[in-house]
């Protein structure tokens, strides 16, 4: 059920958001009442029984069974309600509807990749149809990550060497943020993706376009697109500025010093190897943190990226003239 945002909660756009928000708000209101009770009583006592000059003997009663039973019992009942309510929705979050579309999610430092049953893959953007349950089968290639979409009220850790599962059914077309919420190193806060919820027709079209890799584009154009969509941009700039990894600008054809002490020429083979097996040769001065794109990129996509990096060389040359 859709919910509108409040001061506390962002708007909700999944089938379970309504239930989560209802419980959140119930606890919020109950808490406000209890809090005000404690604060007003304290304030009242402090003012009413403020010490005048010297303290004398004070009132001696130090227990009251009825009162004590009441303030144990009432919170206990409230808490049992909250417990049962919370658990029931939690179970729903864990029981995946049978007809769900199954998408494979991979987390790695520091991006998300998605693989659809039709063979389409995407990076940092997951496109799903409206009003259809979607099952996510998730695993990590390195450390623990966590898949969090605030507007859907779902979150699940993504672990190496095992699968974790979560699901959602989006109720409203739009674009929603996807965060990594388990600390995973330097680029943790850049590990942000998008969930794009579209109509069923648009979804079918998107899948169609995805199966044809970069058709109707030159390799270079396709590479430029992949540079952003496959998240190279998180670590490599194209304007010469140093990021987590070296910039692509003007690199092609140069000879670089590696951490091993070797000098290596940046050619097609080196770039290909760096994409598929990044730890083989690491440029001196950089940490060996790049993830492998083995299995993420198709061979035409690797070709396109190489072409794109080459094109940055030519631009750099023209600038220098």
């Amino acid at each position: 059920m859709d919910t509108t945002g409040t001061i506390f909660l962002p708007s909700g756009h999944s089938t379970i958001a309504g239930e989560v928000d209802a419980l959140f708000n119930f606890i919020l209101y109950a808490s406000i009442v209890l809090f005000l009770l404690v604060i007003f009583l304290s304030a009242y006592f402090v003012i009413r029984y403020r010490r005048q000059k010297e303290a004398g003997l004070t009132y001696g009663k130090d227990h009251n069974i009825k009162l004590e039973i009441a303030w144990t019992l009432i919170p206990t009942i409230l808490i049992i309600i909250v417990f049962v309510w919370g658990f029931r929705t939690y179970l729903k979050m864990h029981i995946v509807p049978k007809d769900a579309i199954e998408i494979k999610v991979t987390g790695q430092k520091w991006f998300w990749s998605f693989e659809y049953p039709e063979g389409v893959t995407s990076v940092n953007e997951i496109v799903v149809p409206e009003d259809k349950p979607v099952k996510l089968l998730m695993s990590s290639k390195d450390v623990i990550h966590s898949f969090f979409v605030p507007n859907f009220r779902i979150k699940m850790d993504v672990l190496p060497n095992r699968y974790s599962v979560t699901w959602f059914e989006a109720t409203n077309a739009g674009e929603y943020n996807l965060f990594c919420t388990e600390f995973c190193g330097t680029g943790h806060s850049e590990m942000i993706g998008k969930v794009r919820v579209v109509s069923e027709r648009e979804y079918a079209e998107w899948l169609q376009a995805g199966t044809a890799v970069g058709e109707g584009m030159t390799l270079e154009e396709f590479g430029a697109k992949l540079y952003t969509s496959k998240a190279c941009i998180t670590c490599h700039s194209i304007d010469g500025s140093v990021g987590t990894g070296p910039s692509f600008k003007g690199k092609y054809g140069e000879t670089e010093l590696m951490a091993s002490g070797d000098r290596v020429k940046i050619d097609e083979n080196y770039i290909r190897e760096s994409i598929l097996n990044p730890q083989a040769k690491v440029v001196a001065g950089y940490a060996p943190v790049m993830p492998t794109y083995q299995g993420v990129l198709k061979s035409r996509e690797v070709d396109a990226l190489i072409e794109f990096i080459k094109s940055l060389q030519e631009e750099a040359d023209t600038e220098n003239e």
């Binding site: 506390f8 962002p10 379970i16 989560v20 419980l23 959140f24 606890i27 919020l28 209890l34 404690v38 604060i39 304290s42 402090v46 029984y49 403020r50 010490r51 010297e54 303290a55 004398g56 003997l57 004070t58 009132y59 001696g60 130090d62 227990h63 004590e68 919170p75 808490i79 909250v82 417990f83 919370g86 658990f87 929705t89 939690y90 979050m93 864990h94 390195d142 450390v143 623990i144 966590s146 969090f148 605030p150 009220r153 979150k155 699940m156 850790d157 672990l159 190496p160 095992r162 943020n177 965060f179 990594c180 919420t181 600390f183 330097t186 680029g187 943790h188 806060s189 942000i192 940490a287």
Partner: protein
Amino acid sequence: MNKLPDKSYLNDPKGLKSWLLTRDHKRIGLMYLYAIMTAFLLGGIFAMIIRLELLSPGKDLIDADTYNQFFTLHGAIMIFLFIIPSIPAAFGNFVLPLMIGAKDVAFPRLNLASWYIYILGSLFALYSIITGAVDTGWTFYTPYSTETTTSVISMTLGVFILGFSSIFTGLNFIVTIHKLRAPGMTWFKMPLFVWALYATAIIQVLATPVLGITLILLIIERVVGIGIFDPAMGGDPVLYQHFFWFYSHPAVYIMILPGMGIISELISVFSHKKIFGYKAIAFSSLGIAFVSFLVWGHHMFVSGQSELAAMIFSFLTFFVGIPSGIKVFNWVTTMYRGSISLEAPMLYALSFLFLFTIGGLTGIFLGALSVDVHLHDTYFIVAHFHYVMMGGTVMAFLGGLHYWWPKFWGRMYSEFWARISVALIFVGFNVTFFSQFILGSQGMPRRYYNYLDQYQPLHGFSTFGSWILGLGFVVMAVYLIHAIFRGKVAGANPWGALTFEWTTPSPPPHENFDKIPTMEHGPYDYDKIVPRSTLAESD
């Protein structure tokens, strides 16, 4: 008549060596106080830097790796070097024997040893800062902590060593409380701070070894390469989380129970009234101590544990909440028909009531399974644990610091400046951390160096609050240090309290009491006796 005693634990015997080799619990308590205040300062500096970095998205001050190291250092220092030892080691050492009318703790040598072990552990932890720091968060989750290139080993080794210090202090207190109470002090005539220390000591002794073992396994994995937690070597990363929280959840109560003990003292003394529900408070401390061992799984509701496990942990979590709620009601009721004076320690106690109630109530959101899924690992958590640990424990710590300061030094601080500082801290704290509840429920994840623009206004507000908070602490440092040298002489019992530590001169003599005190009345019998306040005389 108002002058300090000629001879006290501070100057008898004299000389640096007599301090370094002292077996006097009061000196050891004071040495702990210096050490943990240094740690607090250091942790606070890191906090101010991370808060400043978060003023706006992107880079303001430091790069991502440095940020990650700083929040880890901030958390690790605050937890392991400051808050766990703070109240038990500094105040517990200083006042526990005085409160039960003993000459010292049961094992004075072990006590001194635990101080040196604390220093050694801290040095290891600090060494890691020099050698490249750690960037794992204070929780050291695997497999990140087995892969990162930072100096995880010296930090975890430091924490491992600190654990021994904590265990020794706990052991010492348990035996002291069992064996050394003054004649006539039955269990139910002990001050509630003593009960709290007792419950804490049980957790310290039972839970800390598990943390020690976990960290050693982590070190073995990193050094020898045996796969325990790292899946790349055939280990199980979630196992680490189970081990870690099996200690660290009870440890949360190592942090808060002593604080609750102080609050029981303060509310009673400054309301000049018998504490309401003495037994309920005492037993709820023990109850909390036991149940706290059974709730660790509530840190792992989204780690992929079974629904059944999640259900059980959620249920039990709520049941540790109830005793804390009961305590709050007892404190409030204690003020009813009292004679309340609002000196600085009481202002801290009232701040505690306000902030800890918020901390506790927000815990209910996190115990509710479906809601926790949304809030886990966001700024809501950051706000929640700061309300509990800083709004709770640190406020109690500061209350205790002001309450026993005249006992430590025999001199009084400036009440005027103390009120200014408590006001700054209270306001600054709420500005800094309340905004984070909203940030978190809006979806802002924690441990983020960078963030989306939509979160900027609240982050900016929070950073602004941290300046007010920081200013409050600077003011406090100035007037407290001033008080040591120039403060008005306080006399034996400035607050008109009834517990034993106020029957001996301030600062107390080396052997604590001229003659061992006997129990003539309960620790809170303000309905039968009006104690004389030495402060009123000197005015």
